[in-house]
């Protein structure tokens, strides 16, 4: 092999497909499960979620003003940590229940986005805002009830 061309021709012969000694698919399948491929979180999607949060916040605020005369049956002293907000509690009022569902969906999508982009600190803020709105809805539902 005296030339670059001969050398690289020889080296190219080292390339090509090599079949693994065992079938790797079962292990791969076990890791990916049957969950669908993860949806890519786009900027428009994030913008939509943020818009949704603002809109729902407005609804919640209006509801709060309307029902401000009603007695409080849920403490409003910060005892409810956002992380501890029970996800399975749904407000009785259909409007608030629908808003709560939207917030749950938004929170799920934001958490998926955070898994994909763990460095995106702003997503943490959005998730906290979502959970905060969700908790506020529960309180207002209880106050109105």
């Amino acid at each position: 092999m005296n030339t670059e061309f001969e050398w690289r021709s020889e080296m190219r012969k080292l390339g090509g497909a090599v079949e693994p000694a065992r079938d790797l698919w079962p292990a791969i399948h076990a890791r990916i499960g049957t969950a669908p491929a993860r949806r890519r979180w786009t900027r428009p999607g994030l913008a939509l979620a943020a818009t949704l949060l603002v809109g729902l916040g407005a609804v919640a605020f209006a509801w709060r003003v309307q029902s401000s005369h009603v007695k409080k049956s849920v403490p409003d002293d910060g005892a409810f940590a956002v992380e501890a907000a029970p996800e399975n509690l749904v407000p009785d009022h259909p409007v608030l229940a629908a808003a709560a569902q939207d917030l749950d969906d938004a929170s799920t999508q934001l958490q998926q986005a955070l898994e994909q982009r763990p460095e995106a600190v702003f997503l943490v803020g959005l998730i906290n805002r979502t959970n905060s709105q969700r908790l506020r809805l529960l309180r207002q539902s209880a106050n109105a009830g």
Binding site: M1, W7, E10, R12, L14, A17, P20, A21, I32, P36
Partner: protein
Amino acid sequence: MDGAVLSLQPPVVEAEAPGAASALVRRAVAGDVAAFEQLYREHVGRVYGSILRLVAMDRARAEELTQEAFVRAWQKLSSFRHESAFSTWLHRLGVNVALMDLRGRREEENVDDAALESAAGGEIPFCAAERGDLERAVAELPPRARAVLVLHDVEGWKHDEISAELGMAVGSSKAQLHRARGLLRRALGGEA
């Protein structure tokens, strides 16, 4: 000499029937695991082969990294842009997984490029060797030198692509290639 004057084509990628392959990819993107398994069956040999050469023919490690590559491919399917061949995208992803593993292991300290040049010897490679001898000699190269040699001489990457993926300067990539060839020549009994 890094082969810039030669016009060897990149490794031949197996023919990919556009319609069928594209349909499989689209099904997989939509969450069809059976379609993804079919893609795995079609491409695992090429992905595994490239990874195997990068990890010095360590079959267990290559299997582990190949699994990781396909899991990541599944997770990133939606980011695949259909303007490039799926096989190219997947192969690149597999190589990147192996390179990330290489970087993470830090098996080799960074070496001064000038020292590499002086240690490598002449530029023209050496006398002919049996394929098995050549494979073994490549496997025994230091990790970064091996990675550059495999990517450049076997996989057909360019120095700017290699330098980007390995996080080194283009000059360092060329120096590592020079070093790798010199070490190979010594290993195979050529002059230093």
